[in-house]
Amino acid sequence: MSAAYMNYLFSFLINNVFILMIGMLGVYVLTGLTGMFSMGQAAVMAVGGYTAAMLSKFLGMPLFITMPAAVSVGALFGFLIGIPAVKLRRDYVAIVSLGFGEALVAFLNNSASITGGALGLTAIPKYTTKPMIVVILLLTIIFIWNLKKSRFGRECIAIKSDELAAASMGINVARVKLLVFTLAGAISALGGSLYVHTTRYLDSAAFGWDQSSMWIVIVFFGGVNSLTGSIFAGIILGLIPEILRFSNELRIVIYCIVVLFIVNFRPQGLFGETELDWKTMKRIALALAGSFRRLFRLFQGQRQEQG
């Protein structure tokens, strides 16, 4: 592997995988924590992207305005999807968000005078640097981690597990769901604003339901409750198609086989419900050390027998 290729892979990891991962984290909050399927989350990311792109391209706004603006507009759209969705049963939420997302993408595609239509928006100012993307991703992860470890995380998991019991614990189910939709919208739109300021190009066709369902695959691949699992899965599944680029069409097949293997043999996801935190890492380290010691002793015993 040449150094140039490694370099390319590294910048692909940050500029593409990491940014899409921020969009995916919105899906993690919605689907992983709260158990609601959003098939239109990528459209919310596109909305954030267009907000940032138009503010910077046409009005010359700097990043510290375009990014918060994108986040607020994303939160607003998340809230709007949430209003009908909280009144519906779980399976219908997927349909509503699918319709909403596709309608949004179609609208952006057809209002060519503002958004550039199918040609997309080009020459968007580049504001981001690689360290900046990494820092923003890390901050987002820390925020979501803290959220999971707070009353909101517990309420979300309770709602996912059993809505009726959650309500009888005094949890206002509709309010928590609406909050989660809003939050997920904000997170995904944040990813959208980073996307446009990095790739400098935006075409709404890339944010249809296929991207949204890809994110759901990633969350399930990593383990539904596990934030670290989703991040791990996001990196792996983001890189596989790129690493396998030499094999052309076969890469899609390999990708699907990897996903199907996990779904078949580990339906709870790669990490299941455990987080890769210090406690788990310590446990893994201890278990590894223990098995090494046993192996070593076995080896010694054999040598003594021989001697």
Binding site: I144, N146, R151, R154, A158, K160, D162, A167, S168, M169
Partner: protein
């Protein structure tokens, strides 16, 4: 009076699950509801906790009519319950399961949660101590970090009990809490409930089939049959009531001759 139900009725399509039931529970009192399967006992619980809305009648909790109020508000007023088929939250540890009952009452915002501000840390710490206290009462401190699905059935029931009492409710509703317990577990359970009542003075409403629990604990028994209130009174009178025996054992069955009282069941 803590809870007063007047002429409650609820039907599902053509089935009159609850027809005309009136009952009352006072603080520091244990009241039992008994009746054959399908009599409408759990429906009464679901009506009180707001899962269903009553068709007719009033449910007064501390003097306020709670019919039509959403579930979480009723829970917030101090009504907590356990479920007939255990409903613990998957994906949360035993301790976190108990903490969820307190989370709705804590008031820190999303932002202080994301930034782990001091206010959030203080609230969560206090809630955790309360939850640990509740787990200690039911004797589950050592299992606090387990997933509830890894625990045996009897212990899962106790986790549900801890979750129901941790918020210091005014009315505690237990739906068949002794189902599936063996005799020694049953004795321990009865003394636990008696101890809880003495300690927290809440009104307790119990649905139970095991007559030992009903007779030893409750001061008043209501008998429900086909959605109607058959009779009510103290355990001794109710057990010897011929109507009740008829509802339970049948009129001319072999059991009726030998078994003169439900107290011996």
């Amino acid at each position: 009076m803590l809870l007063e139900i007047d002429n409650l009725a609820k039907s599902f399509g053509g089935v009159n699950a609850v027809r005309d039931v009136s009952l009352s529970v006072d603080s520091d009192q244990i009241v039992s509801i008994i009746g054959p399967n399908g009599a409408g006992k759990t429906t009464i619980f679901n009506l009180i906790s707001g899962i269903y809305e009553a068709d007719a009648g009033k449910i007064l909790f501390m003097g306020r009519n709670i019919v039509g109020k959403p579930q979480h508000e009723i829970a917030g007023m101090g009504v907590s319950r356990t479920f007939q088929n255990i409903r613990l939250f998957k994906g949360l540890t035993v301790l976190e399961n108990v903490m969820t009952a307190l989370d709705a009452g804590s008031n820190y915002s999303v932002f202080s949660a994301m930034l782990t501000l001091p206010h959030k840390r203080r609230t969560d710490k206090a809630n955790m101590l309360h939850a640990l206290e509740a787990l200690e009462i039911v004797g589950l401190t050592e299992y606090k970090d387990e997933q509830p699905s890894n625990l045996p059935y009897g212990l899962q029931r106790r986790v549900e009990l801890a979750r129901a009492i941790v918020s210091k409710p005014k009315l505690l509703m237990l739906d068949e809490p002794a189902a599936g317990l063996n005799p020694s577990e049953l004795a321990a359970f009865i003394s636990l409930i008696a101890e809880l009542k003495q300690r927290f003075h809440f009104g307790i409403l119990v649905i139970e089939h095991r007559m030992q629990v009903v007779n030893e604990l409750s001061e008043c028994i209501y008998v429900i049959n086909f959605g109607n209130l058959l009779t009510h009174g103290n355990p001794k009178d109710v057990c010897n009531d011929p109507e009740v025996i008829k509802a339970y054992i049948g009129e001319d069955g072999n059991g009726a001759k030998d078994q003169k009282s439900l107290c011996q069941l």
